[in-house]
Amino acid sequence: MPIGPPLLQIQNVQKSYGATQVLRGVDLRVAKGEVVTVIGPSGGGKTTLLRCVNFLESYDNGSIMIDGQEVGYRDVAARKRRSERDLARMRAETGMVFQLFNLFPHLSAAENIMLGLTKVRKLSRREARDKALHWLGRVGLTDKADRLPSELSGGQQQRVGIARAVAMEPKILLLDEITSALDPELVGEVLDVVLSLAAEGMTMLVVTHEIGFARDASHRIVFMAGGAVGADAPPREIFAADQPNERLRGFLGRFTAAHRL
């Protein structure tokens, strides 16, 4: 279901840690407004791929373009990295939400959101605070604006994490298993926020173990295993009984058994 030209274009990305190749030539496209979920067994390279898109990790080969601009290199062929300043500017265009929230522990919920707005987007403190409060309202946490992360539940922290990323108005949002560190009863409140963003047309690349969420919320599901894309199709095809990819069928079978979906 392509909605527009590719906003994110990943081509033949390869990455090794020492002798272990973690990404073996990954190709992936995400169109503007599209929600693409990535599923697959642990250790398959999903986190690494997201971190490459944000250039939290460099990649050895291939290219990652966002809105027509190469993410980490000013010269891909010669592997010339962008300057740190340039990288910072590029990273501000992609929002990332982390499995372990990674909120700044010394800043309140509102200040966590304001930091990027004041230092990167150069808003005044007042404008930044208004914007932070707006986004805290969107994730249902207006009354927690001045609380420190340590005073919030996991689900609340993760909603602040989402607000912090979205408030920067990124072109694409990257979510890395954002509910897997949460108690089961807190998962819903976080997924609801993600669903509402998706409904508004936010472009997202979502790594998740919530197979039900992947099935219901995404335009396309990408199955990643062993550092490569094993399947890339709309949910209907991924879950089809005659799914040709044996490994994917096995993965879904184990998953369905484990979660009694």
Partner: protein
């Protein structure tokens, strides 16, 4: 037991101890202040510097930490003026020495604090587009300070006690005050008991103050 404790003479000279205590605190505060600047600057230089910078800083830390403070005090006060043309008062000489000494210990405190800042926080800073300098200023240093606070408190109390070494070059701090009273009254036990009490109470007060600060700024888990 033929010895009777008699504190009367001590109280008569208590002003010597009091002014000594004040000077001890001043020496500690100034040296810790300068030491913190040295420590912070070198810790930041260490984590962002090349091999040469790291080597030089490590050498400074190792030398200072493996030489007794007493010897450093002698070296700076008696030794240095014989080779280079400088003149300074006992007090200045001691402050220079204790600052350099404090700096070496504080580099280690700050450096291990910076190392202990969770990687995820730095990643979060990168992902919202902070430059390396902004990450240092707004993420790494504030987090590090909170992590380092307990170690910092212990170092501060230690350095306060170390000011007593200044007595060997006749800086009129608390321990020197005690010796002065000894010479003039020979109430040795009484003097040292009172001075011990003063160090104890002051050191403890500093510790409690810092612990309160820790509780206020501790990173909740």
């Amino acid at each position: 037991m033929g010895y009777h404790l008699n504190f009367a003479l001590i109280w008569r000279h208590f002003d010597k101890l009091w002014s000594g205590l004040i000077l001890s605190l001043e020496l500690a505060v100034v040296s810790i202040g300068i030491g913190c600047v040295i420590g912070l600057a070198l810790a930041v230089a260490y984590v962002s510097g090349n091999r040469l910078v790291r080597g030089l800083i490590a050498a400074y830390v190792e030398v200072i930490r493996n030489v007794p403070l007493l010897l450093l005090v002698y070296l700076v006060f008696y030794g240095l003026p014989t080779v280079v043309d400088i003149a300074y008062s006992n007090t200045t000489s001691f402050v220079v020495t204790l600052s350099a000494y404090a700096g070496a210990y504080l580099v280690e405190v700050f450096r291990s604090g910076l190392d202990a800042v969770p990687r995820g926080l730095i990643d979060a800073g990168r992902s919202i587009g902070l430059t390396p300098g902004q990450r240092l200023l707004y993420v790494r240093l504030p987090t590090m300070l909170r992590i380092a606070l307990p170690a910092l408190s212990n170092t501060f109390v230690s350095l306060f006690k170390d000011t007593s070494v200044a007595s060997v070059i006749a800086v009129p701090e608390l321990t020197y005050g005690a010796q002065w009273i000894n010479f003039n009254t020979f109430r040795i036990m009484e003097v040292y008991l009172v001075v011990t009490g003063l160090y104890l109470v002051t050191g403890y007060a500093i510790l409690i103050g810092l612990r309160l600060l820790e509780r206020r700024y501790a990173i909740g888990r």
